[in-house]
Assembly symmetry: C2
Homo-oligomer: 396 residues x 2
């Protein structure tokens, strides 16, 4: 039976595709350190659980398609805290940031259209863009330059008559690159001048380690018709399993089109929306402790990677990933081997292979993405295992 | 800014698009009887709430992309109860039956492809099919024939070289039509002979009122490579707000492609999956009381509609909707007028206008769909209001 050619052009998630091999390794008694997936180990704040316990409607009924008011208002309060005034109708709750991506791309892209995205990028962008019939035009960046891309000439070289959007992940996944306010304004300017949507994926907004406040695309005046922000409770509040995100835009025509997708899938989960609203009311001091912990982990990660001969990485400024190049032929083969044939005292580790993070064919094959979402001692051990594995792999 | 031409071909949900007008009416103090939306008033079973209270993982982490094992096993147990043996990997949990539709259509449809669906059909099929780049080829049915469509000649007349799937909603929404086992087998035979996926939307499976057990497409042998079933806890357990559905298929190649969508949006909500698992363990006797209540409502609905001169309907055999034709020019205008200008002692009512349920241009304009998901006395009152409104509307 014939399948969709668009779906056939998509791949499995590099974060999840090795799970069957991991399960086999586990069944052989191997312990696995997971640095492949951005699943924080930070405890989800108590108000989430309290909201689950307090839910007492006799019927678990559909939420309103445009979202549960208590969540909309919690999101407004959060944005008011960074100086952004939103109407309820500027916000649409989604099934996680992932569905926000799907609905935004489905809303603006036609067959043959293009989205300009700096590479390396989060691989699921590729799936969402491809299923909308369009393709990604990558802006190449390089580890040696700290994954820098906010340059007019580089970005405009990727814009053509098919371009519909300029995608900015800030802080970046997988690079940890963070735009200065001036750099972000440049990206918004380029988008506006070319009549594009600047789509700002800001799910890692609270995770910046140099002390400076990170600006949102919504904080700049004069771009209201263009800016689309994707946000989520997943990483910010360590509530990935809640699957609650939002699309935010002040462009009414855009939001009217998004509403068709929203109504087509009726609503996001009722209880999860209510429980997520409670998260948005966490005191900002909550982030201080979380940020300190991630900074420690980042520093641990970078220090340990430097112990692997031939490993090249750039210290991430934000989010909780580090991308690095290893002295290996192919990270996909290397991961398979690490799960099937390798162990260090009964232990191995997982990363996300780098190639799916690139849009340019051939790039990233010897690169990996590590998520520093496990504690610092575990990171030390995991990277020691990685070092031993690189040596053993190259001696085969 | 240009939007997707595919999205522009989609419409808002006829069940939800009048909500802004309804809010205006409410703010004028008007009471509204809601027969526009299939939101059951039946209490959600207690085990769902117990599971919410019991959830105590310190982190609300991502569920496995292929689903939480306790839910997969609960679904297997439920299907074992109707004689269908499933592997865990035959089942993929979704964000409601709606996302199941999106992912199935995105998996099998290319631009220019067609899906054969008897009309009238659930309007959100149109959105999901259109966003996948394809279109619906409707099999016309008629109220006077009880919306009969299980006829080889009629169905085959709609199949051509672009056809990829034969869609069967059983019991039907909005018609309440129910296929006999022989009729369902005929549909499966036609699909298999033409190398199509028979997609069986069976979310209303437990709601059949003549006492006969309703067969699932999964209960027929020899169609394992073809059959795709869409199911959901929403209606069955009155848990619409949980947004938990499943795609079920024994076709491994199909499920491998669906997995790309699944991994792209990471997972369905963790807590909702666990709580929904508890629902699947309800004793089958639970449905007896629910079914008796809906049968009473159906009978009330049909009896009251017969009191409206010129109203034509067919007694639904299943689900909880009735489609009927009214002696009016345009149900969309009529609903707008009922919300803006009409009231009967300070009360009005809502239905879903019929036109978006049809794929054939011009059909359904004077038809409406009523959901009998409110109690019998309220149904009596709502249809009295409808009758008064038809008279007043035609006298304007």
């Amino acid at each position: 039976m014939k399948m969709s050619s668009k779906m056939e052009r998509c791949g499995l998630s590099p974060m999840r595709k090795f799970n069957p091999l991991a399960n086999e390794a586990l069944s052989r008694g191997i312990k696995i350190y997971h640095m492949n997936i951005g699943q924080p180990d930070v405890e989800t704040p108590a108000p989430f659980y309290q909201a689950l316990r307090d839910f007492a409607d006799p019927v678990v009924s559909y939420a309103p398609a445009p979202g549960v008011p208590v969540l909309l208002d919690a999101v407004r309060d959060y944005y008011r805290g960074i100086g952004v005034e939103l109407e309820r109708s500027d916000i649409l709750p989604t099934n996680g940031g992932s569905e926000a991506l799907q609905m935004v791309f489905a809303t603006i892209l036609d067959d043959g259209d293009e989205v300009v995205i700096p590479e390396p990028f989060y691989p699921n962008y590729h799936t969402s863009v491809t299923l909308a019939g369009a393709k990604i035009r990558p802006v190449p960046t390089f580890v040696e330059e700290g994954y820098f891309y906010a340059d007019r000439e580089r970005v405009e070289a990727c814009i053509n008559e098919h371009t519909r959007a300029l995608f900015v992940t800030n802080p970046g996944n997988p690079t940890g690159a963070v735009l200065t306010p001036e750099q972000l304004r440049l990206m918004l300017d380029i988008a506006k001048e070319h009549d594009l949507f600047p789509i700002c994926d800001e799910v890692y907004r609270e995770f910046v380690y140099a002390g400076e406040p990170l600006l949102s695309g919504l904080q700049f005046e004069g771009y209201e018709d263009n800016v689309v922000v994707i946000d989520s409770v997943s990483k910010r509040f360590s509530a990935c399993g809640a699957r609650v995100g939002v699309v935010i835009s002040k462009n009414k025509a855009f939001m009217a089109q998004v509403m068709k997708w929203v109504q087509c899938r009726l609503a996001s989960p009722t209880v999860e929306q209510i429980a997520s609203a409670a998260l948005y009311h966490m005191d900002p001091s909550y982030f201080d402790a979380v940020r300190d912990e991630y900074r420690l982990r980042r520093d641990t990660c970078v220090r340990k990677l430097a112990e692997i001969p031939g490993c090249v990485c750039s210290t991430p400024k934000g989010a909780f990933y580090v991308m690095c190049a290893l002295p290996i032929d192919d990270a996909d083969k290397f991961q398979t081997w690490m799960l099937r044939e390798f162990d260090d005292n009964g232990e191995t580790m997982m990363f996300a292979p780098g190639e799916p993070f690139y849009g340019t064919p051939g790039r990233g094959r010897n690169e990996i993405r590590l998520a520093y979402t496990i504690n610092a001692p575990d990171i030390e051990r995991a990277i020691d295992i990685l070092k031993a594995a690189v040596e053993a792999y190259n001696k085969r």
